[in-house]
């Protein structure tokens, strides 16, 4: 019942905010295996939308299709009205396994996106330093990835994505290889960071708590084949102390509702 209420509210919000990423009729098959079926989704500008679902629901596949890293079998993705046929400068990706170059320092890793674009050394390092500071890694510029913890490595990955100044950030389970305490701290920092950056986030996760904690919108996907089963907009006030959210009644209710909905897919 509460879900229907949320749904109604969602459609109301939907019309008021312009969509930056539009996914229309996306299908993806690997041979005989159907990974995604007929996905229609809009991602509103400036919001953080999570793709949530059990394993096998194709959430990472969908994210990579939006990133242009893999092609869809049918359907189209547009970003700012432009058709997506491959990676583009308006989108930046944060990888589940960090994908940091072990031979390069934090500074060079963060500046890598700009390096590939041919930005001059001084300029790109200045930008990189700024974002390294924003993700809370000041003082680690000359360290190598192997000298950092998992959480810090992913902060490098995030800083790298931020520094190319893309409008859309695509995060593929960014915290799944980060330990629990660091993950929570990182989630808090992400909320703070978002209030400063006016960017659109698309976030893949399999953690219900994580999705509810950080998202403006949650897209629930059901598995085999992956389809959109629900769109939820948790109405949680994220200003103020992030710790408070974990005790927020609305937060707890939403987590419980989503779990009741997902339960049937867990064997």
């Amino acid at each position: 019942m509460a879900v229907t209420a949320l749904r109604e509210k969602q459609s109301a919000v939907h019309t008021s905010v312009e969509a930056i990423v539009e996914v229309k009729g996306i299908c993806k098959s690997y041979g005989n295996v159907e990974a995604l079926r007929d996905i229609d989704l809009d991602f509103p500008r400036g919001k953080l939308t999570s793709l949530l679902g059990p394993s096998g629901c194709g959430k990472t596949t969908l994210l990579k299709i939006i990133a242009g890293l893999i092609g869809a079998s049918a359907g189209s993705v547009t970003v700012d009205g432009k058709h997506v046929s491959g990676p583009g400068p308006e989108r930046a990706f944060v990888f589940q396994d960090f994908a940091l170059m072990p031979w390069a320092t934090v500074l060079r890793n963060v500046a890598f996106g700009l390096e590939l674009r041919g930005t001059g050394k001084t300029e790109r390092e200045e930008t990189a330093r700024r974002y390294i500071a924003q993700v809370g890694l000041s003082g680690f510029e000359d360290k190598y990835p192997h000298e950092l913890s998992g959480g810090m490595r992913q902060r490098v990955g995030l800083a790298r994505a931020l520094s190319v100044d893309a409008e859309v950030l695509l995060l593929d389970e960014p915290f799944s290889a980060v330990d629990e305490q660091n993950r929570r701290k990182f989630q808090e920092d992400l909320i703070r960071l978002r209030s400063k950056q006016n960017k659109t986030f698309i976030f893949v996760t399999h953690s219900i708590e994580e999705a509810v904690y950080i998202s403006d919108r949650i897209v629930l996907l059901s598995p085999r084949p992956g389809r959109v089963s629900q769109v939820i907009e948790p109405d949680i006030n994220r200003s103020g102390d992030p710790d408070r959210i974990h005790r927020d009644q609305h937060y707890l209710d939403t987590v419980e509702e989503i779990w009741q909905g997902l339960k049937q897919y867990v064997e």
């Binding site: 990133a67 242009g68 890293l69 990676p87 583009g88 400068p89 989108r91 930046a92 990706f93 990888f95 396994d97 994908a99 170059m101 072990p102 031979w103 390069a104 890598f112 996106g113 390096e115 590939l116 674009r117 190598y144 990835p145 192997h146 790298r160 190319v164």
Partner: protein
């Protein structure tokens, strides 16, 4: 990390010494144990020489004395001067040629299809059989010896380079693509840096093979340099001198390899450096 190590040991498996990375660990052992180990080896050699196990088995002390004698009379330095020339030249040529071929084969399917099987055969087969043939084509000079070195060193270097390039970290390739890296940028900024530790390990194996090649060339083709020193002292039954020469070339090759490994860790493995 675990997958990294796996591909690496696989890469070395195909090549000559499949020393799993911890097996190499000469440098991990405390100095004292290493000295004890050397002393023990020398002691056993000394005793075996004193029994003696064979008329042709000199004691350790005699061999050491012979070693300094050979250095003093200048015959060993002169021999090394002539041996090292084809070795260095052959290894250098193999390095440029081998890394080049390996990269091309790693990047291009056609190159892989056409060339890699040949090098796999050359790697597994006893190519030493070619050395007498080389003599016919190039005579008994420097060219023949350099080619002998290359015959042995090239396959290892090509195959290691090829495997390193082929097994490059997939997720870094995707990352580079997502940040709009061009093909050329992907090769120079991701593939080559990621492959360089394994390529360098291949060079080390190439140097080891090069030593085998130059010794064989000098023993088989024409007695010059170290090969001449060994053959000459054997014919005069100066066994201590002969053993000293052989031990010296084994020691030189070992020291070279340890040095190269040290460079490898210092330069190419920031994750292992200063550990």
């Amino acid at each position: 990390m675990a997958t990294n190590v796996r591909t690496e040991s696989e890469a070395t498996n195909l090549t000559l010494p499949a020393t799993s990375e911890e097996a190499i660990g000469l440098r991990d052992r405390p100095i004292i144990l290493r000295l004890v180990s050397i002393a023990l080896f020398a002691g056993i050699w000394e005793i075996a020489g004193r029994i003696p196990v064979s008329f042709a088995f000199p004691t350790f002390s005699d061999t050491i004395a012979a070693f300094f004698g050979l250095i003093a009379d200048g015959s060993m330095p002169a021999a090394y001067l002539s041996t090292l020339q084809p070795l260095v030249l052959g290894v250098l040529l193999s390095t440029f040629l081998g890394v080049g071929i390996g990269i091309v084969c790693g990047l291009s399917r056609a190159g892989e299809w056409l060339l890699i099987p040949v090098f796999i055969v050359l790697q597994a087969a006893p190519v030493a059989a070619f050395i007498p043939l080389v003599t016919f084509v190039y005579g008994i000079g420097m060219t023949a010896k350099t080619i002998a070195v290359m015959i042995l060193a090239l396959p290892v270097i090509v195959l290691n380079t090829y495997k390193a390039v082929r097994n490059v970290n997939e997720s870094l390739l995707v990352m580079c693509r997502s940040f709009l890296g061009t093909r050329w940028q992907t090769i120079t900024r991701i593939i080559l840096p990621d492959a360089s530790p394994v390529i360098f390990a291949g060079l080390r194996l190439g140097v080891a093979a090069g030593f085998v090649g130059v010794v064989l060339a000098e023993l088989l083709i024409t007695p010059t340099g170290i090969g001449d020193l060994i053959t000459f002292h054997r014919s005069r039954a100066d066994y201590a001198e002969m053993y000293a020469t052989i031990a010296s070339i084994i020691a030189l090759s070992t020291l070279t390899l340890v040095f190269l490994q040290w460079i490898e860790v210092r330069v190419f493995r920031p994750e292992k450096r200063g550990a």
